[in-house]
């Protein structure tokens, strides 16, 4: 190597070559894994490949720990931590109900974010003397990296915990609003930035703890106002944030594996968040600051289709209609999830099929409260996959259906989305249940759904309402059908 070239060439870095190459394998696995997760046919294999990448990263790291003078590494203590983590994480993830999956994702996301913040704290503690003794670019850069990883990590940690609490109904799932919401958040953010700048100038562990405390508070206040229904989007956003937090710890530790993996999650998670909010017909901004989602009542009254008459029915009256149909299409919605009626729905369908009725399920892409919500529930109830039909696929079939049974769905079957340009949900594609010979709607009241808009479907002459909890109604219906 010679004069100029030496300048242009990155020379000797800290990480040994084999570690860098190991992390490269990890990065390759993660990239391939994420790609494969994007298509149903390869998704599961993608998760295995990502898992393999993680294994490689862990082996590389432990080898590094073992081969360097890592004097304080206590294999026993760390082994215990890993064992506990594996047992608790593995067990709870296995044991939890399918319907509780979103909150599990939130929880584990919070764990990762917390780890990132702790790593920041640890690095700050051990580096503190050096920062004070040798101020300058190097110290400043490291402090800033620590601050970034503590900020994103703590924010995502407390935000995820709140999201978990809301979905698990430990905290009110409603869109909690409080006065001066935005100014308060802005103030906290300013305080965090100011404090951070001060920490760079005068590093101190106590100030770092205050810094983290304010950030935790901000995370809580940030997620509290979001309605439970928007939670999937928020969790996806926090997930993307935790990715960035991991990347920030990568900067702190100068570890390429962390930087790449974190950046991958940060970027792909952000794209995914956008796709999710788009699939729900909401803008990301709206989700974050709208506190819509529980608006109900007032919107309904403005649309006010209330004038029509509603025809209510009973399970006895309905049973013969179903039993002697040729094609019945079941349209599940959020109410089925609330009532936990999926197994009973399956039972009704089985009974109908036994009698020679053809049964199909119409799955609207945003039915329920998370993407794929209905698929997951019905799969749990062992409904064969081919019977679950996507919207574009099933819509033409309603015209030849004898009965469409709408089980706790509302917005996704609202014809106003098709007909009424003044409606807030106008333009959203819906399931054309009103084209069936008869439409039966199972819900508890005339209340509105997620979007808070009244549903003209309920007032149509072809529509019969079967009021009551979806599960109770279905069970009653099944026993009546059996008696036919």
């Amino acid at each position: 190597m010679n004069a100029l070239l030496a300048v242009a060439e990155p020379v000797s870095t800290g990480a040994p070559a084999w570690a860098t190459l190991g992390y490269l394998v990890t990065a390759g696995c993660f990239i391939t894994g994420i790609k494969m997760l994007g298509s149903p046919a390869t998704a599961r294999r993608g998760n295995f490949i990502a898992g393999f990448g993680m294994l490689v990263a862990l082996v590389v790291t432990l080898s590094q720990v073992a081969t360097t003078d890592s004097m304080h590494f206590d294999w026993a203590v760390m082994g215990i931590a890993v064992l506990i983590g594996t047992a608790v994480g593995g067990f709870s993830a296995r044991a939890v109900r399918m319907t509780a999956m979103p909150q599990m994702v939130a929880l584990f996301n919070g764990m990762g974010a917390g780890a990132a913040a702790l790593i920041g704290i640890d690095d700050f503690r051990t580096g503190l003397d050096g920062f004070i003794a040798f101020p300058g670019f190097s110290s400043n850069a490291e402090i800033i990296s620590v601050l970034v990883s503590c900020f994103i990590g703590s924010l995502s940690f407390s935000g995820s915990v709140i999201a978990f609490g809301k979905l698990q109904e430990l905290i009110s799932g409603r869109a909690v609003t409080y006065p001066l919401q935005r100014p308060l958040n802005g103030l906290l953010l300013l305080a965090i930035i100011g404090l951070g700048a001060y920490i760079v100038v005068a590093p101190s562990i106590e100030l770092l703890f205050i810094y983290i405390g304010i950030t935790l508070l901000l995370g809580i206040l940030f997620v509290i106002p979001v309605g439970g229904a928007d939670m999937p989007v928020i969790i996806s956003l926090l997930n993307s944030c935790t990715g960035l937090a991991a990347a920030a710890t990568g900067f702190v530790l100068g570890n390429n594996g962390l930087i790449v993996s974190g950046a991958l999650v940060g970027a792909s998670g952000f794209i995914l968040t956008q796709q999710m909010s788009k699939a729900m017909n909401r803008s990301l901004f709206n989700v974050l600051f709208g506190a819509f989602g529980q608006g109900a009542g007032q919107v309904a009254s403005t649309t006010g289709a209330g004038g029509g008459t509603v025809r209510s029915t009973t399970s006895e009256d309905l049973a013969p209609l179903l039993a002697y149909s040729r094609l019945v299409i079941i349209v599940p919605g959020y109410g089925m999830a609330v009532a936990r009626a999926q197994n009973d729905v399956k039972e009704l369908a089985d009974e109908l099929e036994r009698r020679g009725v053809e049964v199909k399920y119409a799955i609207h892409p945003v039915a329920g409260r998370m993407p794929g919500h209905m698929n997951v529930l019905l799969a749990e109830a062992n409904v064969p996959y081919p019977q679950l039909r996507e919207m574009d696929d099933i819509n033409p079939e309603f015209a030849r259906a004898d009965v469409a049974i709408v089980i706790g769905a509302n917005d996704v079957v609202n014809p106003a989305a098709r007909n009424d340009p003044g409606s807030p949900i106008y333009g959203m594609p819906i399931l054309n249940v009103d084209q069936a010979q008869t439409t039966v709607v199972l819900k508890r009241s005339m209340a509105t759904g997620f979007a808070g808009v009244d549903n003209p479907l309920f007032y149509e002459p072809k529509t019969l309402m079967l009021f009551g909890d979806a599960r109770a109604s279905i069970v009653a219906l099944t026993s009546e059908v059996k008696q036919q």
């Binding site: 983590g85 690095d123 970027a267 995914l272 062992n382």
Partner: protein, 102 residues
């Protein structure tokens, strides 16, 4: 942390961000939640960071922090992977259940 190493880290970071943006094109809505869960698993890589700082600090405080970081990281990794796998299990083809029984 020199300016040079920082710039190199930034280089790698930005390339990875580009990959992340390109990677996800049009994902069917049913896969949104599993994909979120899968990437949630991937940032469990912080466990690597937790393990590599674990040997640095001595003393009780250091050990406690390291212990917590490793514990949380492991929860993220293991829980994240299992949750994703369970979700994806739903997508595999099941043998058609018997039509006759209930």
């Amino acid at each position: 942390m020199t300016a040079q190493s920082l710039a190199l880290d930034a280089f790698v970071f930005v390339l990875a961000v580009f990959i992340g943006f390109e990677l996800i094109t049009k994902v069917p809505p049913t896969l949104h939640t599993p994909l979120m869960s899968g990437t949630n698993f991937i940032h469990g890589i912080v466990l690597v960071g937790a393990l590599s700082v674990a040997g640095v600090a001595g003393g009780t405080a250091g050990t406690v922090i390291a212990f917590c970081a490793v514990l949380l990281g492991t929860l993220n990794v293991v829980g994240g992977w299992v949750v994703t796998d369970r979700m994806l299990e739903m997508f595999k083809k099941r043998p058609e259940p018997k039509k006759e029984g209930e």
